[in-house]
Symmetry: C2
Subunit: 467 residues, 2 copies
């Protein structure tokens, strides 16, 4: 393929227009200063930071902390102290009412193939109703999509248990994409199954691992699909395989399921917000947040204890390096990301009421793994500004920038036109352990956690300096 | 800072010269075809590849495999079969004589502080002589550098044990840089200590972890420094801390050390070379290699079982995707990288004798972690060609290219002017487990191993197509 001369000239002009402004600004000069400062930031994180020991405490002393639980309340107390200790000028607790779902006794699930009766590894999904003390017992309809469910129809589904046997698509390079594809069966599977008369639903765990640990996560009863609430559980990958095999040999295989979970009355809880006051003493804010709540399996180490300690460490960075931000820097430990987003909503409401100007909001909720980069909003020209720092972050392997937004806790802020950023660590191992008993502190690598914290520290530093 | 007009014009011309050739080649067109092919390659690796199960077998059934050991011989047999099974047209065993160092009974090291006597976790370094059955017992001189050793001098060192208390520099972003800095005390520490009359040497394990597992590795008796061979061991990080503390409180602390290692007569061993014949049936070769030998602690999972299975999988890729290479593709399982490089030398000698044209040689010896990119030689314009594939590899997060060469096994080939490439996975976790009992199969993440294998597959495919 070749191009004619006029095309060529027009492309040359385009090049000049695109590249020259970058070259002839004072950009190069300030990049030298910034590069020195970033090196100091990284030195601090790799030799003095407390994120690893903070996470150890959060995981091992406080443990899991689902909204409404004693663990969540303890986490709020700890987080407030940890933020002050790290150097916050002020820490406030921002109230919000949160759901209070409890798992109750361990789930019991048996597969009766006609010849054998085996226990299957499963866990109730968050927000699901329980089966009642008598449990449920029925034949199984296996499907791979909602379309298939519709084709099979009410007459064949009524009174049965629906099994969504949908695999995690391993061909995605970023595992988040595979998660997004498969998670709809976890979230809305119960309502669709109920629509066709099913009495319960099972879903293959949404995970990249091929393990025997069931992976929980929230579900939603969507009353626009069905008004009936039926229980739903996640089967472990191996249990899903076993059920699939059993149904191949005996389509009349029966599942017996007892779950003890229930939705209790809502509870008062809090976002924890630590602030370093900006030198300009104005009403402008840059925030970095993760979520303090976690599922009740495991310890919430990568999800999202890592995000919490990465953000708390920002306060320590400003203190130890005696940096003075222009804007107010807020570290936000959101409550209730996992099953309600009440914390994110409360924060946005508060910000709006106080007419606070949010320059940018960053969320970190993809684990404490080795950094790759950031997903950055195009709103207010944020992406175009941040991409100029690509060279500064390249030596730290944190220089992949994608046009995207932040995490779930920032949805309400995005609606208020706050430009959002999501921290993007390497995604390969996250969904192996996500929402399961395997999300524990021993899965944290110290250097990876420190580098991920440092990447966030560096970005927040630059955002504050240039906005 | 601003630039005057003539500078500006000269920069514009520079831009045109640099960018236009890329734009107006048929490069864009072929990149589309290549991009489709790379997607197929990645799909294969992420759904059908056998690298994970191959590595499981190598680690769990064969286990560690130091040169000259029964494990190494078993590994050679297994590797030949595995290469045929993966689709090699031919597999040859290329002979080389290798050192045969054995650890013997477990090392015993006691720290007598005057008040307490504690066992310290340690291991003999490869190639070190043993202490003899009576062991050695002496006071300790702690140093942080060879310079310090020289300053302390023979009169203060004679008859004592030298302790190199040199830390892994955690501020390096790539851990390989920290390793390179510290490893000289492991390699030449015994000879320098002997030069000043020491009877033994201890070295803090060269590791990014703060664990109690000693990390071994090869040492060399450099007769240009001293003709006397004294025993040397690595202390675990924690043992090194304990010794350091003890010496602060009691400089007369005594170390009692017994090691049972010895150097036995050399043994005949082999490189294992699997080949897919090129369609052009000429004498040109592209090779990808790792090393088959491993240390006798752990299972050699990341070092370098991962490299071996990544390379074997290339054969499977060509077979399963029915790709026909132009050049001969060779997968080389080098023997004796860890303590002699005899395999690398034998390969280069053979290649020279047969007047083989080596287009490029890739080594993978940095683990089976999530990919970052490749270190590529500038020789024969290789780097400038490979950098054009940056966009092709970006969706796979394997697009960092650095001007550097291959691994230790390729040194002899580099001397023959073969352009070399080193695969570069993320480096954060490698030196936590490197050369210790912790380098086991459970440290391998399946997706990371598959993606690292795929990155190598993609690069070899492109090299063959464009050379």
């Amino acid at each position: 393929m070749s191009l004619n001369r006029s095309n060529r000239n027009s492309m040359i002009n385009k090049f000049i227009l695109i590249f020259i402004p970058f070259i002839f600004s004072n950009h190069f000069y300030s990049q030298n200063i910034d590069s020195t400062q970033l090196r100091k930031i990284y030195d601090f994180y790799l030799t003095e930071s407390k994120c690893y020991e903070n996470l150890n405490f959060l995981c091992k002393t406080i443990g899991h902390r689902l909204s409404g639980s004693k663990g969540a309340a303890n986490a709020v107390d700890w987080c407030k102290k940890a933020m002050y200790k790290a150097g916050a000028d002020t820490v406030i607790l921002q109230p919000c009412m949160v759901p209070h779902w409890v798992r109750g006794k361990a789930e019991e699930c048996y597969l009766n193939s006609g010849k054998t009766k085996n226990k299957l590894s499963c866990c109730a999904l968050g927000s699901s109703v329980g089966t009642g003390l008598n449990g449920i017992k029925a034949k199984v309809i296996e499907v791979k999509s909602f379309d298939e469910l519709e084709k099979i129809g009410t007459e064949n589904i009524k009174g049965k248990i629906v099994f969504y046997n949908v695999f995690f698509n391993q061909t995605h390079i970023n595992t988040g994409a595979a998660y997004s594809e498969a998670v709809k069966y976890r979230v809305k599977g119960a309502s669709y199954a109920a629509k066709y008369g099913a009495i319960g639903a099972l879903v293959r765990s949404v995970t990249s691992a091929t393990d025997d640990a069931p992976h929980t996560g929230n579900m939603v009863y969507d009353t626009t699909i069905s008004k009936i609430k039926i229980p739903i559980v996640a089967l472990s990958y191996k249990a899903a395989d076993e059920l699939n095999n059993s149904l191949k040999n005996n389509p009349n295989s029966v599942i017996e399921l007892k779950t003890y979970c229930e939705n209790l009355p809502e509870v008062l809880s809090y976002n924890v917000i630590g602030q370093i006051n900006g030198e300009a003493k104005n009403n402008s804010y840059i925030i970095a947040g993760g979520h303090l709540d976690s599922w009740d399996l495991g310890e919430g180490a990568h999800d999202d204890g890592a995000g919490i300690v990465q953000c708390i460490e920002l306060l320590n960075m400003y203190k130890k390096l005696t940096l003075k931000p222009k804007n107010n820097i807020r570290v936000v430990a959101f409550m209730n990301e996992e099953n309600g987003l009440r914390g994110g909503e409360a924060y946005a409401k508060f910000a709006k009421q106080n007419n606070e100007k949010h320059i940018a909001a960053l969320e970190t909720d993809a684990g404490g793994y080795t950094p790759r980069g950031f997903n950055v909003d195009t709103l207010n020209g944020l992406f175009n500004k941040v991409i100029l720092w690509e060279k500064l972050l390249a030596p730290y392997f944190a220089n992949r920038f994608k046009k995207e937004g932040g995490g779930a806790d920032l949805i309400a802020l995005e609606k208020l036109n706050v430009p959002c950023i999501g921290f993007e660590p390497d995604s390969q191992r996250y969904f192996d352990i996500h929402h399961s008993k395997e999300d524990t502190f021993d899965k944290i690598n110290k250097r990876e956690l420190e580098l991920s914290s440092a990447a966030i520290g560096a970005l927040i530093y630059l955002l504050d300096k240039y906005f």
